[in-house]
Symmetry: C2
């Protein structure tokens, strides 16, 4: 039997290292990804460290990659959000602060369970094994800090400037808390995997 | 060896039936819970069908049961949200539309995997096995429709009436979509578990 897990790991390792080289990996996730590259029985795939976005959504609210009007993997300034809102846009714009989402592959169920333990110890409340097959266990985890609201309808900005300021402030606080939680999880993984 | 799973199932069955009798179960989840009561190898525990809430949050944004200022397991009227906002409150108020969250116990990993398959077929994108022990597999699933924003800071209402109207409208649409997805998932479970 082929080493299915080994092939998967090789593939995701290369994808990750490519992304880092091309500057496409979120800065907050590089140390985390590097650590997983060094492990024999785990890998990471398609993960995001958390972000603040302005998103174009039509009536159906279908999300496509093209829907990202702005995307920041860091805290934002009120002015840059406001100036983006004031640009000429057509569809509704939503302001979102999204939590990290991680995908971790493990060779065995026992090892996937170790990820769940690290998750609990770090205080990450949401997550589970989303694929459980011989040679392929994928754990998905997410943080629980988020915000989401419509800020523009057609050409009309819906939020007042003081409200937007308040929202940006809260989103920054939540994003910081999100990165801190991600850091805690990385620490627990380094201890126990 | 004791039938650990059987004891768990009995406990959660009684808790669910008690909640229904006392009118404490979400109406949208009763048919779903009843179905699981009828199965030998599955149970549901602490689930929520999705809701719209006004929540008191302090600076730390710690969520306690007492934090629910209003809680609706249904679509809301603009007027009832506005009048709640106009009441005399102290801490910040957040408006949230939350997706369903379900916990499903399965006797074996194979049966937990069936829940994951039903989930995928129904189009539920977020979920996994959060506990994987001999005789106790718990799958957690959540919908992906949500909104969350601060609407009141101390005594000051942050949203304009037109913005609040727009927000309520979007939240209602999302909540409907959430209930529809929950219905799809129930249908898939009834087909395949």
């Amino acid at each position: 039997m082929k080493d299915m897990f080994g092939m998967l790991k090789k593939h995701h390792k290369e994808t990750f290292q490519e992304a880092v080289k091309e500057g496409k990996a979120d800065p907050q996730i590089i140390s985390f990804g590097d650590y997983f590259v060094s492990l024999r029985d785990y890998f990471t795939s398609s993960s995001c460290s958390g972000r603040i976005v302005l998103m174009n959504l039509n009536e159906q609210e279908t999300k496509k990659e093209a829907a990202f009007y702005r995307k920041w993997h860091r805290k934002v300034e009120f002015e840059e959000v406001l100036s983006a809102l004031m640009e000429n846009t057509r569809e509704d714009l939503w302001f979102k602060q999204e939590a990290f989402i991680l995908h971790i592959g493990a060779r065995t169920l026992k090892q996937a369970n170790k990820v769940l333990s690290a998750m609990k110890k770090a205080g990450v409340r949401r997550g589970g094994i989303m694929v459980a097959k011989q040679g392929k266990f994928i754990v998905e985890l997410t943080g629980s800090n988020y915000m989401s609201l419509p800020v523009k309808s057609g050409k009309e900005i819906l939020v007042s400037e003081p409200h937007l300021k308040f929202i940006v402030e809260k989103a920054n606080t939540k994003l910081e808390r999100n990165y801190r939680l991600l850091g805690e999880f990385e620490k627990e993984c380094r201890k126990s995997l």
